[in-house]
């Protein structure tokens, strides 16, 4: 905005000044365009996080007396329950991500490449519809199906396959199933949009050059879909590790999910300081996992997420 001074002397206008005024307007409109975005980032993302960092570095020494220190982080590493839960959450989230990819890829491939134009839209719709219902309602839907006195158990009883009712809820397998169901769409959408851009001629060329189905998949389709795969996996992993309702409602007495620890610290134990520390540890942990995943698969954020 150096030229601002010039532009207040208008109208004895040489062409050079006109251009200067024009670039000012462009700069101003750019600034105005960016303002809401930067305010949003600053006020809703950066400031609260700074507040949380400060909070997580406060140690309570007595009622209403706090000291600066790393005690909350040290507590986390000293107590096996906490880091075990974090690792467990991480591993189960990875499994969910993998399963979602395994199931989502063929679906996305069918929608993008095999389905006709009209079916394509309809299939995409069918994937979207479950998202219109809130997480909570969907979890309760599963509970109705799976509980001991629920629909599946009573159906099996009445058909004579089992004698006593079976409890399907409250196991890790149920939690993983529920989570895969919840996040599936976020895997399918980026995959479809990447695969959609792929020229069918590339697949034909692969077959023409003597590749079998598996080789074409491995050498042509998957490398092409990599941006979609990576961004889908990142979104799904982050969502799973940060989910709260599904593990709590479907996991029952043995569900140890790290978000539940954070909730307990904040709400049940009034311990905001260690809750904030736990929140940052979860953020750091998931970021490291994503970074590791990118390194191991030889991808970068700019070559995948930015592209898909």
């Amino acid at each position: 905005m150096v030229d601002a001074a010039d532009s207040v002397l208008p109208c004895i206008c040489g062409t050079g000044e006109l251009i200067a005024v024009g670039s000012d307007i462009r700069k101003l409109s750019l600034l105005l365009l960016f303002l809401p975005f930067s305010l949003w980032i600053l006020l809703l993302i950066i400031l609260p996080h700074v507040g949380m960092v400060v909070l997580s570095l406060r140690e309570k020494v007595a009622p209403r007396v706090y000291e600066f220190g790393f005690g909350n982080y040290i507590d986390f590493f000293m107590e096996p329950i906490y880091w075990n839960t974090l690792i467990r959450t991480g591993l189960m989230s990875l499994l969910v991500t993998f399963l979602a990819l395994l199931i989502g890829f063929p679906v996305a491939y069918y929608i993008a490449k095999l389905a006709g134009n009209r079916t394509k839209g309809m299939l995409f719709m069918l994937c979207l519809i479950p998202l219109w219902v809130s997480d909570l309602i969907r979890a309760f839907g599963w509970i109705l199906l799976l509980r001991e006195s629920g629909i599946i158990s009573s159906f099996l009883m009445s058909s004579g396959l089992i004698d006593t009712p079976i409890e399907f809820l409250y196991t890790d397998a149920t939690v993983i199933m529920g989570l895969v169901y919840t996040v599936m769409l976020f895997m399918i959408v980026p995959l479809v949009s990447t695969l959609d851009g792929m020229d069918n001629a590339m697949i034909e060329a692969g077959y023409n050059l003597g590749g079998n189905g598996f080789t074409v998949l491995r050498r042509i389709i998957i490398p092409y879909a990599m941006p979609g795969i990576v961004s889908g996996c990142i979104v799904v992993f982050m969502m799973t590790a940060g989910s709260y309702l599904t593990p709590i409602l479907m996991g029952g007495k043995n569900s140890s999910w790290f978000t539940e620890q954070i909730y307990d610290q904040f709400i049940s134990r009034y311990n905001w300081e260690s809750g904030a520390a736990f929140g940052f540890l979860l953020l750091a942990f998931t970021s490291v996992v994503v970074w590791l995943g990118l390194k191991l698969s030889g991808q970068t954020l700019s070559s995948t997420v930015a592209k898909s």
Binding site: P63, R64, I81, N84, T85, R147, E148, S149, E167, L169, Y170, I248, G252, K253, N254, S256, Q261, D264, Q265, F266, I267, S268, R269, Y270, N271, W272
Partner: protein, 356 residues
């Protein structure tokens, strides 16, 4: 454009004007503690007061008030053991002006009990509203022998019992092990010893539990469907189910049911103290208590309140409590600073243990 603008200005001016007239009472309370019919009657009597209700529980009430330093609400209803420490730590309540509250008809034992628990530097921070107990809910047709807290861990009922994984069950189990946890609050080392035993016992017991319940609704569903036959429970939840299946009874455990009193407190930055006092006095009138108890299933802290329960709840109470049981009630003691953390750790250990 101009007409739109003037319309907006007019509506803003209107809403400002109506805001200036009507006072809003923002109530932070438990589910069913502000039934619609009571709110309607209150607003009829005081047409210039609007009542806004937010439903919550003890932990969330304190977390909400702490987040704002006690702003955002004008009247809150935490239990009597959640006042002293919360006030010391977070300074979220303001002292009551007892001259504004009609205490003449309050049950003296409850009023004095709450005052004793909620007095800091000579200032009283809370008065009682309703009380109730936590004990056992038993399907007497399926599990006639459940009489004490320990019976929830009886292998005879493998996979058919439940409890809520909160501090109540820690205290209950401590009593069933023959300890007096509230007495040990003054000696935290001793209390840690008790907690360790309790933790061990409850981890052993985990195999026997079907699931930990979270609120009255999932507990009711498990009990009515027959998936569980006995559970830790609030008495009011058990009374509600008694109406649907008379085999489901509330059983005060052998070591005594644990009693809580929900109170009235003023948040530190509340803006409608007068309206709050009006609400307190209003809901403690006998004719309102009758409506309130029908909704909550809890007993108001005024003289003769048990007679004001609706007939079905009265039958349930009489089926549950003898006079000896009433004498055996254990009232929750104030939570001293630090105990919340110790109990939280114990609960985490139980939750994380890999049982059945």
């Amino acid at each position: 454009m101009k007409s739109v603008l003037s319309a907006i200005t007019a509506s803003v001016a209107l809403s400002l004007a109506s805001g200036a007239q009507a006072e809003t009472l923002r109530l932070l309370t438990w589910g069913s503690y502000a039934p619609d019919n009571v709110i309607e009657m209150f607003e009829e009597k005081y047409p210039d007061i609007d009542v806004e209700v937010t439903y919550s529980n003890n932990e969330e009430m304190i977390a909400k008030l702490r987040a704002t330093g006690g702003a955002g609400f004008d009247l809150a209803q935490p239990s009597h053991d959640r006042i002293y420490a919360a006030q010391l730590e977070f300074d979220i309540y303001k002292p009551l002006d007892l001259s504004q509250i009609d205490t003449s008809n309050m049950t003296p034992k409850l009023l004095d009990g709450v005052k004793e628990n909620a007095t800091i530097d000579g200032e009283v921070y809370a008065v009682p509203h309703q009380w109730g107990t936590t004990g056992l809910m038993v399907n007497t047709a399926e599990a006639p022998d459940v009489k004490s807290w320990g019976d929830l861990c009886d292998p005879a009922y493998q996979g058919k019992t439940s409890m809520r994984l909160k501090r109540t069950i820690l205290l209950a189990t401590a009593y069933s092990l023959g300890e007096d946890p509230f007495a040990a609050y003054s000696d935290l080392d001793k209390y840690q010893g008790i907690l360790d035993d309790v933790t061990e016992k409850l981890i052993e017991c985990k195999d026997n539990i079907k699931a930990y319940w979270q609120g009255g609704d999932d507990l009711s569903a498990m009990m009515l469907s027959g998936e569980i036959v006995a559970s830790e429970s609030w008495d009011s939840t058990a009374y509600k189910l008694f109406g649907e299946n008379p085999d489901i009874k509330f059983v005060p455990p052998a070591t005594g049911a644990l009693a809580w009193i929900d109170t009235f407190v003023l948040p530190r930055k509340g803006k409608a103290d007068d309206a709050a006092y009006k609400w307190i006095n209003f809901v403690l009138q006998p004719e309102i208590v009758e409506l309130m108890s029908a909704s909550t299933g809890a007993i108001a802290s005024i003289n003769g309140a048990a007679d004001l329960l609706p007939a079905d709840k009265k039958a349930a109470v009489n089926a549950a409590f003898s006079d000896a049981d009433i004498d055996n009630l254990k009232f929750f003691a104030n939570i001293p600073p630090g105990v919340e953390d110790m109990e939280g750790k114990a609960l985490e250990k139980i939750k994380a243990a890999t049982g059945g």
